[in-house]
Symmetry: D2
Subunit: 253 residues, 4 copies
Amino acid sequence: MDAVKWKTGITKVEPNKIVTRGYPQDELIGNVPFSHVVFLLMKGEMPSESEGKMMDAILTACVDHGVTPPSSQASRVVASGGVPMPTAIAAGLMSIGDFHGGAIEKGALFLQDGVKRMKDEGKSAEKMASILVKESKEKGKRILGFGHRIHTDDPRTKKLLLLAEELGIAKEHVALSRAIAVELEKTLGKKLPINVDGCVAALISDMGFDWRLGKAFFVIGRTAGLTAQVYEEISREKPMRRMWSADVEYDGP
Amino acid sequence: MDAVKWKTGITKVEPNKIVTRGYPQDELIGNVPFSHVVFLLMKGEMPSESEGKMMDAILTACVDHGVTPPSSQASRVVASGGVPMPTAIAAGLMSIGDFHGGAIEKGALFLQDGVKRMKDEGKSAEKMASILVKESKEKGKRILGFGHRIHTDDPRTKKLLLLAEELGIAKEHVALSRAIAVELEKTLGKKLPINVDGCVAALISDMGFDWRLGKAFFVIGRTAGLTAQVYEEISREKPMRRMWSADVEYDGP
Amino acid sequence: MDAVKWKTGITKVEPNKIVTRGYPQDELIGNVPFSHVVFLLMKGEMPSESEGKMMDAILTACVDHGVTPPSSQASRVVASGGVPMPTAIAAGLMSIGDFHGGAIEKGALFLQDGVKRMKDEGKSAEKMASILVKESKEKGKRILGFGHRIHTDDPRTKKLLLLAEELGIAKEHVALSRAIAVELEKTLGKKLPINVDGCVAALISDMGFDWRLGKAFFVIGRTAGLTAQVYEEISREKPMRRMWSADVEYDGP
Amino acid sequence: MDAVKWKTGITKVEPNKIVTRGYPQDELIGNVPFSHVVFLLMKGEMPSESEGKMMDAILTACVDHGVTPPSSQASRVVASGGVPMPTAIAAGLMSIGDFHGGAIEKGALFLQDGVKRMKDEGKSAEKMASILVKESKEKGKRILGFGHRIHTDDPRTKKLLLLAEELGIAKEHVALSRAIAVELEKTLGKKLPINVDGCVAALISDMGFDWRLGKAFFVIGRTAGLTAQVYEEISREKPMRRMWSADVEYDGP
């Protein structure tokens, strides 16, 4: 059978030599913050100082949101069955889908398409926001990345946007995102502010990331939180404990 | 049904307020490197500057080792089936077990037990290493964390240990680990140096982490590498491609 | 906190009494073949004798396709890291996505839409097939469930269709599927026969299953094959062995 | 790079020909119940009629236990994040570990060791049970597979054992298991009957299966139940709903 041939631009491994994206790993270790290495892996190039700071902020904003999100529940419940820690962490990550963290991926695609149209058609962010909100209404489709079940003024979003302005990261995608929030409030008659997923979607778009990487920022940040969730479960609780309750009624035959 | 009651020390979520390990998340965002937040989540307290630097180094040393480790292969192959990115990343993490990254967990337990015995019995690292190597030989059990399939002088290990000495992180567990390597060479007549798993095991033990968290350092670091592997697979390759080859012979009935 | 309330029609559990879909489990055990219980769980009602036989056949047709499909590779590779058997089996199932088994889900949706249009518009299967193939060509979209990388005349498909005719299971969806294959051959000038995914899609549609359950038939059948793959890996092979080979070239910076 | 060479006894795939464990798949399809094919895959040979019936019974006994086991919760919660059905089913399977279904694997090992000692030492099941219970007490270790949180007289166990006697499947491992239950009652002064995990452990041991396959019976049976759980979740409930409740108190800094 002929050998399969393929190419990778991530890491070259030779005896006693490991080169990642052009950098020997032993030069990265101890010299470069982990967040910069994450950026390097995802983008293929080292971040500027501002980009590196933004990366730290984005990953931190995704880190943990308590025990109730599907990811925490899945990790805890799987851990309680008595499995290796990586299996339990993985179960939590698997819940990151269209409805849990999905707005980063789809939101980024939506904003990147929107900004492209802004440029192609020579329109302002405000004008484009008005068009997009109208179109979404007509199609009966929600614009993802706005509004939160618990927070009306999410502290993570506020801080991320502030920082993005300070660092000069915020550009057209953040502008369009802000304009959409204004337009949604006008149309709906109530505030529907940018949520943390929508905010990350705008920021990574302004940093030039492919929208298909959207969920990965959440995955990488949240892995740290899920580690803590799993560790707390196995170190403080009994296996197979009754973890949650619900009044469940059987309505089958 | 009576409500289940339980306690968590990780994150408190209230409307417009998120507090993790005592720190409002909006004070962490933009002020603290992600690696320090990871430390905070795993340990329950903020790292010192040295510990923070060591954490960056450890996570970076776990980041990626090319396309051949089980984790990369699993993530690539699952991605090629056409699934969400988090599912593909999770599949890679699930391969982290007794034989892939497992030496961090078991190695840390072994070293922590060894250092406890050193202190209880008032023995030096050299004496304890000699006892441990002898015991392992008698039981026919390998000591985990020494030797590597590819590297005889792993650049990651060398750099991590150098840094740990500079930062004052290296203490008894690193000392015992070094003494075991010396003892193994004496006994086996060939070098079997500390590998990257064994090195991380010693370092996190010297930083006071529970051995049960051993694999989590690998998981968190490697999540970044697997993200790159999955992204490269979906952006450069065709779905369901023949990815690897082997001469497979059917020897069934 | 007020208790969450919800309903389930699957299983009622009381001390010493377990009722699934209306049947006490101890009356199912020993009296009903497993395949019928699978049908009962998925459909909410017991199969007729013909449906039960068809179910056995469908699950058997999904059972295993050697070591090369992504699911086998993922399960083998994850097993080789040294993890519990269920984790390794799960990793294989996770590769079942848009491109691996996905044609069952999307193919069933396509056929169910097609048959609905046939009935609504009073068209024959042949007429509808001609319309659908034309539409797909115009949209530049492949119709899923036809053609196979290895088999030109898949023995599983042939047998499943034969059996479906004998049992009186084959109805409009199989008819439309056959008509599409004929139409595709006419249009493309070469045979593109119904493949096993497309065949299962047609059969479960004729049995009245929701298309969203499409991948589940593959999952349930393949779980048995993946069990054998994982067991063979751990009982015949060394951990972390080099399982596959490829000529990998680093083309990064 | 030289090709990796390896052997498999599971399935041979050639164009238009698929042979599993020596049987062309198109001869299995429609002729052999799925449960027998599962047996064939796991054991390498076709079951006798009795073994086939027992296999159906064992898989059915593992099928579902309502919404509260970790596997159901994990599958439901992951499904609610908006992911493909196989990912959600896999998450449930991943919770099958030392404490959830684990007694099948460890229980089978314990019984197989026990029966070996019975034969080697020429002891009766009663004598061996008395020794094993005494040893376990001395080591402070629970014997797995006895007692249940909800059922004092599990209807699945009762039916499985009855059937095993009728079919002539029950042999030394069931005998030892029964003797242990008697001995446990004598020692503890209360009933601790064989539970469904312990029962499956005994039955698969009497059928000659490797204990390492223990969890696989549970995995294969439960995959059907988890499919129903996931389907009910996505077809009857809203995404990201609050699924379970608990009084959670933050006791961190």
